[in-house]
Symmetry: C2
Subunit: 122 residues, 2 copies
């Protein structure tokens, strides 16, 4: 009897059509795993109360900081420290797994057209 | 100027030769990202105070529970709920990313030859 099943990241990604619109796929204590497809420039923002982990699943992502950039390819992980301004950018579509506490707003304290719901499960 | 770089999961995995010996690769608040290579049967155990997330990077993993099994292939994620007895098993070598709070012991309250250090960075 198999009463639970694993979450297949690529099957779930295939359901996502919008950019910059994170979808929750799993919960670990008070943390969420979110899938998001991105393309183009996001907005500069920070998260005052938490670090934020990015794992690139497909494509390439640049996380811009004020003094340097971090380049992430498929299979690469980076943790943005709390309180540090950053701006994710992807020339071409890129698929990312984000891990962060429940309730974290994607644009931090910045209000933007790209500000998304924090609790949208797929 | 690129003063920080991402963690490449596969480059880090290539450094791991032991089975069932988790290596920390990144920290997110008070959580750790750990890489581990497994083969064979682990020990039945539970974590009373925390959920535990498994993402299979290479190979296949079975997480046995008392009433059912969960099968994970590459690119599949499962969160073992706190307090639930489980036993990871892999017929062939399997590489996993584990996300859980700092200080979690791999065998829970069970003492085993497979009990590993909780804080070993790679």
């Amino acid at each position: 009897m198999n009463t639970q099943s694993a979450v297949n990241l690529h099957h779930q990604l295939a359901k996502i059509t919008e950019h910059w619109s994170p979808r929750v796929i799993a919960q670990l204590n008070d943390y969420y795993f979110k899938l998001v497809k991105v393309k183009g420039d996001f907005v500069w923002h920070s998260h005052e109360d938490t670090d934020e982990a990015f794992l690139v699943l497909e494509g390439q992502l640049t996380i811009k900081f004020r003094e340097y950039d971090v380049e992430l390819k498929r299979g690469e992980l980076f943790v943005v420290p709390r309180g540090v301004e950053h701006c994710p950018v992807a020339a071409d579509e890129c698929s990312i797994l984000i891990i962060e506490p429940r309730g974290v707003v994607n644009t931090g304290a910045v209000s933007s057209d790209l500000t998304a719901a924090t609790d949208q499960w797929i």
